[in-house]
């Protein structure tokens, strides 16, 4: 009964979304206030209906209702409660339901918090948002209904893929989707602005927090996925340049570009049409990502149960929305006239450079991702594009980005003088080069990777410190300190997010340059040495988990005779899903991770054991968290909180264009 209510609520939401996609649009066009006003209650209603539907599905999973096809395929009574709940979105149908839940949540938020928006703009934003919703409701109801019942329910389910039964991955999809779908807001604002025919500073100020929120969640989502891959897949890789990963990385890059270009629109009323284009592309890449994952068109090597019908449906959605938006853009973009004037050396130019590097980097990832498809269709060549290509073709853009970052941040608007901008940076540059040289001298290896990482790390972090210092102005220390305390959160957010980038860059460089690996047959009680650590396999036992059984090794790690850690790597076997997994045991540290994996028992006695010493591994994700934190700080800036109210008080404050 509850399941049917959920199903019914979803159909109702579909109906409401159609109303909301049409009525407010006509209202905005004709200037009928009553019709425009439909959007708000409709947006709230949509969200509550989808939430009801989502709760109903969750209820079915929690109570293990095996009359639902989806629950049978993805759950089991023995599964821990956390994974019963995360099982709701650990599959195609449920994840699409989560997708529309978040889509309608963003729509409802725009209705709730968008009180300060001009009524026609708000009606159009909500209308476009709802049109996206309509398409995805249809997708779910017609091709991937999560509420399909079985005529004869089995006694128990088939269990969730064991790899997904992990706390990191339980929360990875919701964050990723908050990011993906959050970009729909920027898209709706862009299309609404194109229909309205005007983009101004106020528009940018409304778009930016939504983009910032989406980017922030996307950062966390990607970091969670990467962290999960690191500890779960058994050899500590953190990024694979897989099409599915690239699918989430491209919107991230475009969203980062959009964040920066929206600042130029907000402060200087320039780059308007470019910003609109980025907003369309950011969501376009989210849809492309969804298409890549759902259709399996690019990764069809193995039959991982992807469905061509669904792929075609999403391709149609992609064509309609992105194609439609780009057509509208072509027709209207010329009307977005820039106002701000600035010289070749200025903050505006620095932000343009940022946008170029990010956009071309995204383009490289895109080409690399779709190239196997193009090569096969156009040139009849079956080939692969793997990590070596991406590392060579993508990395230079991020190195360049990190190099220009501190300089750009210190540039004033309109007109800058390079010597003056560089003045506080010479010291940082010297320090960075010295640190790089020291790294080069100290490392035994041959790779330039770590020194470059170190230079960029000191340069970007020092630049962020100089950025903050420069905001405190001149004068004695007391007054500067006072100003430091009163700096807007946006300033702190910017410096924090940029520092995060530096930390991640260093983590990646250090890990790739200095990682050491050891593969051997270890005998119980016989110690071996890896990079100064003495490791002893003390015992191997059988252990029983809630829905798996495992072989667990107990390994002691010592350094200079002192015990560092006792680690217990496992090899698990999930009988219901008939699948083994490796649970690496990791001793996390600030400067290094010790990463142990137990393999098979060997015929001639002993066990296959892999040991990795991974220097600075945690810095990669720590940097991502710092980036997200910076985004959060910026989002909590006062101007976003008071902007709505202030505008209501002074209606004339919105510059007419």
């Amino acid at each position: 009964m509850i399941v049917e209510l959920g199903h019914f609520a979803l159909i109702l939401a579909f109906a409401v979304s159609m109303v909301q996609a049409i009525v407010p649009m006509i209202g905005a066009h004709r200037g009928w206030r009553g019709w425009m006003a439909v959007a708000e209650p409709a947006a709230s209603a949509q969200f509550f209906l989808v939430a009801l539907s989502f709760l109903a599905l969750t209820y079915a999973f929690v109570t293990s209702d095996f009359s639902l096809r989806l629950v049978v395929a993805n759950s089991h009574t023995d599964k821990p409660m956390l994974y019963k709940i995360s099982g709701v979105w650990g599959n195609h149908e449920g994840s699409m339901l989560l997708w529309v839940l978040i889509l309608t949540l963003f729509g409802a938020c725009a209705a709730w918090f968008g009180q300060g928006l001009p009524p026609t703009l708000r009606a159009r934003v909500l209308g476009v948002q709802s049109a996206i919703g309509t398409a995805f409701f249809a997708f779910i109801l017609f091709t991937s209904n999560p509420f399909t019942r079985l005529q004869t329910p089995p006694m128990n389910g088939e269990d969730l893929n064991p790899l997904l039964q992990d706390p990191g991955l339980a929360f990875h999809p919701p964050f990723l989707y908050l990011g993906y779908v959050g970009l729909s807001m920027a898209f709706s604002f862009a299309v609404a602005a194109l229909i309205e025919g005007r983009v101004d500073a106020a528009w940018a100020r409304w778009v930016r927090p939504w983009t910032l929120a989406a980017w922030l969640f996307l950062t966390i989502g990607i970091a969670l996925g990467s962290w999960w891959a690191y500890y779960e897949l058994g050899w500590g890789g953190f990024w694979f340049w897989d099409p599915v990963e690239n699918a989430s990385f491209m919107p991230w890059l475009i969203a980062a570009a959009l964040l920066h270009s929206a600042i130029v629109v907000e402060k200087r009323e320039a780059l308007k049409s470019w910003t609109i284009l980025l907003a369309i592309l950011a969501f376009g890449f989210s849809l492309i990502g969804t298409f890549i994952v759902r259709s399996g068109v690019i990764t069809s090597v193995h039959a991982f149960a992807n469905d061509p019908e669904r792929g075609v449906f999403i391709l149609a959605i992609l064509a309609v929305f992105v194609g439609g938006a780009l057509t509208l853009y072509a027709a209207r973009a010329a009307a977005m006239e820039a106002k701000g004037v600035f010289s070749m050396v200025s903050r505006e130019t620095a932000l343009v450079m940022n946008n170029i590097l990010l956009a071309v980097a995204a383009f490289v990832v895109f080409i690399g991702t779709v190239w196997p498809l193009i090569a096969e269709m156009a040139f009849d060549r079956k080939l692969s594009v793997g990590p070596p290509f991406f590392e060579a073709a993508f990395t230079p853009f991020f190195v360049a980005l990190a190099i220009i970052l501190p300089v750009g941040v210190l540039m004033p608007w309109k007109r800058a003088r390079l010597p003056r901008v560089m003045q506080p940076l010479w010291g940082v540059l010297a320090l960075a080069i010295a640190a790089g040289a020291l790294t080069w001298a100290m490392q035994t290896g041959r790779s330039a990777l770590a020194p470059i990482g170190m230079v960029l790390f000191v340069w970007v972090l020092g630049g962020a410190a100089m950025d903050i210092a420069s905001r405190t102005g001149r004068g004695d220390w007391a007054s500067r300190l006072r100003r430091l305390r009163n700096l807007p959160r946006a300033d702190w957010g910017r410096a924090t997010a940029h520092s995060g980038l530096g930390i991640t860059i260093f983590g990646i460089a250090a890990l790739m340059a200095w990682e050491s690996e050891d593969i051997r047959v270890a005998t119980v009680g016989e110690p071996f040495e890896v990079s100064g650590y003495e490791i002893t396999l003390t015992s191997v036992d059988r252990v029983q988990g809630p829905n798996y059984n495992a072989i667990q090794a107990v390994m002691r790690v010592a350094r200079d005779g002192r015990e560092v850690a006792v680690l217990r790597p496992e090899k698990r076997s999930y009988p219901v899903a008939a699948m083994p997994t490796t649970e690496a045991a990791i001793d996390n540290g600030i400067f290094r991770d010790i990463y142990l994996v137990i393999g098979d028992a060997q015929d001639e006695g002993g066990w296959a054991v892999r040991t990795y010493i991974k220097p600075f591994a945690n810095w990669i994700w720590a940097g991502a968290i710092v980036m997200a934190l910076g985004g959060g700080l910026s989002l909590s800036d006062r101007r976003y909180r008071v902007a709505g109210g202030a505008r209501k008080a002074v209606p004339g404050a919105v510059p007419a264009e």
């Binding site: 993805n74 599959n91 383009f363 290509f389 490796t582």
Partner: protein, 154 residues
């Protein structure tokens, strides 16, 4: 395959470096220099039955066969290029994770640099125009000017 789907699953499958193990101790060569070369070569060769995994990471049987083949050729005295050519001759271009620059692949490799040059060119034209454009009149009305004066005085 059961009908488990979803973005997460895609991810899982994609990276399914598959539990356990990749390179096994019994496969490794005694000569560390040769073994090092073998590792480097196998990192750039695709496991044909996996999704986007190198034979170095995969524990599929085919990947193991290929790893052993690479080592066999190295022991026989082949150079790195000869080993790769040997494998490509048998399994086709698909096996290379690092695409060649031959033929149409050149487009793939120069896409980034060309994209950058084009973007810089467009940006240069735009920026020069912005620099030359005349600042729109932003003079204040008399009333606004009076208000500014009041504020500045007060």
């Amino acid at each position: 395959m059961r009908s488990v789907r979803g973005i997460v699953l895609g991810l899982a499958m994609a990276m399914l470096a598959v539990p356990a193990a990749a390179v096994q101790p019994d496969e490794m060569l005694d000569d560390p220099a040769l073994e090092e070369r073998a590792r480097e070569i196998s990192e750039d060769l695709r496991c044909l039955v996996c999704r986007n995994e190198s034979i170095d990471e995969s524990n599929a049987d085919l990947a193991r066969d290929l790893r052993l083949l690479v080592r066999e050729r190295l022991v026989a005295g082949d150079t790195d290029e000869e080993v790769v050519d040997f494998i490509v001759a048998r399994y086709g271009e698909f096996v290379l994770l690092n695409p060649t620059t031959r033929g149409a692949n050149l487009v793939l490799w120069i896409a980034g640099p060309v994209g950058l040059i084009v973007a810089l060119g467009v940006a240069f034209v735009y920026l020069r125009r912005r620099g030359r454009a005349s600042e729109p009149a932003e003079s204040l009305s008399a009333e606004e000017q009076a208000r500014v004066d009041r504020i500045l005085k007060g």
